[in-house]
Symmetry: none
DNA sequence: TATGAATGAGAATTCATTCAT
DNA sequence: GATGAATGAATTCTCATTCAT
């Protein structure tokens, strides 16, 4: 169905081929983490349906059955990935205090979509759906939180008269972030595909200003 | 996997089971079109891997085997959908002459992502991948064309000194369009989910101006 | 897990090894019947959990996937078997008018448990459980009907004073039938294992008399 | 497959997780017994194939691996259960000296099939098969012994002229016992399901008389 | 042209068993 | 003695595809 490519780039956690068979006691947490990591990559890049639990287990270098042991099901594993990502992003959202930080955050998240040095595919994973309702709610909850946070940084208050409009604008800022994410995910559209954080900084600042600063003509 | 509902809306000449051979004359094109239409919807909304050829055939009200007859394979059907969409968009891109048209085009395409009155899911389908290389190239080709067209409307010339920067900015405009598309696809993030073309007009104009007008501070 | 023995004895419906690949149109009913027949045998003899859908399909000489096509699931196939058996027995119960017929009916059903000439494993199948509630209810319903029918033949009326006692006695008659069935199922306890209907007739008449005739000392 | 409930009732000395090595002395026999007990219940009620070694271990409150340690395999554990049951029954059979004792013995064994106060599921377990030949032989051996014992109480001698007929009649007595057992196992057929030993006494005496007393018309 | 029937490959999941503490 | 961890084989089910009518 699809090329089951081996990890591209140095996988920080994956056991290198010639590893000792691994100790048997107290390794559960590590195995779990290994699986979570591989799953996150696969799900983000290939989508839920196109990803095979065997792909994930192979990437992680462990037996498939362990996915069910630690996460009950493929769906459970996906949910665990989503929660991880959401935790990261909620934490990050909490720190946003100021409009000026936003471009940086966006470029930080979008510039690394396909990088292998650590999980930078958070936004991409957020766009992947398993069709399950529970995960759908988790996702929507985060998006709501996140857009309100952005709007807040621009002075938004839930009960203000133009509340809706400002929130919509904040969601357009989010849109830019996700748009860049999906376009970069295909690796092939230059110059966007290999733009650095610096390259993106200027244009993103313009966009955020245009949408949220209130200094509109 | 999910309820495979028959077409809701009047199926224009869905071939009734006992069609006399005489009536079958010239129905091929129609059948092909029916399949193409259902496929486009399914692929766009559910993604390639999560869509079943049976879903598509049922939606179209025809026999599954006809998919292979007319399109060789699921992959072939997907490619056909993609080509249809690309043709539409290339045509549309050809008409863009002026920066001012852009917001309208974007809102037109994004406002109707989930509407049922005709195929407005062009952008969404463009983001769906089957993992096949051929379709990957088709997609990238279109994106390139499209972003160059946008850039041109802003005065871009391939050999100008700031050529790359302007193209990048055009691609960020594209990003907004795709970003809105994916966020709206989940139907649940208000107010974006139910924003009308009018609602989007203002903010989008701001963004396009900010990215492409050259009137930057 | 267990020897997947080919059908023992001439299988009335199974396609003999060298059959023509079978016509493709209008054969659904036959295939369904083939599966139902094999399933009934397997489920009755090996039990639900120990039977593999592959065993069944192989016995029937058809592809495994057809089980899901025609019966949705292994469970569905089991339920279909159970219903078949219940229909047969309910019909038969309807004909019981007289205490004297009972020994014959019992010996008829128990003498052939392992015979290959047609499905005589009805009682055995009735004892097999899949753990599903729906089938559990079907089974209990039949047992109730059947024991009331037997009791009726002995003059039972739901509202009589000794109603319960007579019903209990009727259920003990049923018990004999099922007891013989399970003991014969292991094929190895002589002389019971190869007793003929004639051999069983006398003793069964004694039992039925003792339990139901009212000519008790 | 089904809720694997921990022991209900006080687990006599279930080894607490952090048992000091010193306390482990001599616990082997106890652990073995715990497993044997849980296994017997599970196998009897759910059947061999439907029972999971994990179910058993959980019921017993010990680690699954111990099953293989003490009994080599699931099959081995089953055989051990069977042997236990056979020992009990052989012992009991030895005591039968008189026809009049038989009804009581049967009602004693069948009335308690599903009781939780000690292992009264002996007959039920005897009907469960693992498909293994060895256990099959154990089972048949016991049934033979048992039916000969019953017959003996009725004056049976191996070389008498009507030897076969009397043995057959004894096996029908056995059939009643097993029949009641299987019908009661499903708990749902009233009044049989909740009949007491007293309730069964009368009818069983009639049956045994009818089959074995020789006072036949 | 169209369709019902059949197929084989592959998917997720379960389970008995073994290994290393 | 006991346990947590890991494994590989098997099982049910799904799905794209092909055949024969």
């Amino acid at each position: 169905m699809k090329a089951s490519s081996p990890q591209d780039g140095p996988a920080p956690l994956a056991p290198s081929a010639g590893n000792p068979p691994a100790a048997r006691r107290g390794t559960a947490a590590r195995t779990r983490a290994l699986l979570l990591d591989s799953a996150r990559r696969r799900f983000a890049h290939d989508g839920y349906a196109a990803t095979t639990v065997r792909d994930i287990a192979d990437d992680a270098g462990v037996n498939v059955a362990l996915i069910n042991r630690y996460f009950q099901s493929k769906e459970g594993l996906f949910e665990a990935c989503l929660k991880t990502v959401i935790d990261e992003l909620v934490h990050e959202a909490g720190e946003v205090a100021d409009l000026e930080q936003i471009p940086e955050i966006i470029s930080g998240h979008t510039a690394g979509v396909l990088a292998s040095d650590g999980p930078k595919d958070a936004l991409l994973l957020l766009l992947r759906s398993s069709g399950d309702e529970r995960t759908e709610k988790l996702r929507t909850g985060l998006l709501r939180t996140f857009s309100e946070r952005l709007a807040s940084a621009a002075g938004w208050r839930p009960d203000a008269p133009d509340s809706e409009q400002l929130l919509l604008r904040a969601q357009l800022v989010l849109s830019v972030a996700f748009g860049i994410t999906v376009l970069r995910a295909s690796r092939s559209l230059e110059p966007l595909a290999s733009a650095t954080e610096q390259d993106l900084g200027g244009p993103l600042t313009d966009v955020v200003d245009a949408l949220l600063s209130g200094r509109r003509p």
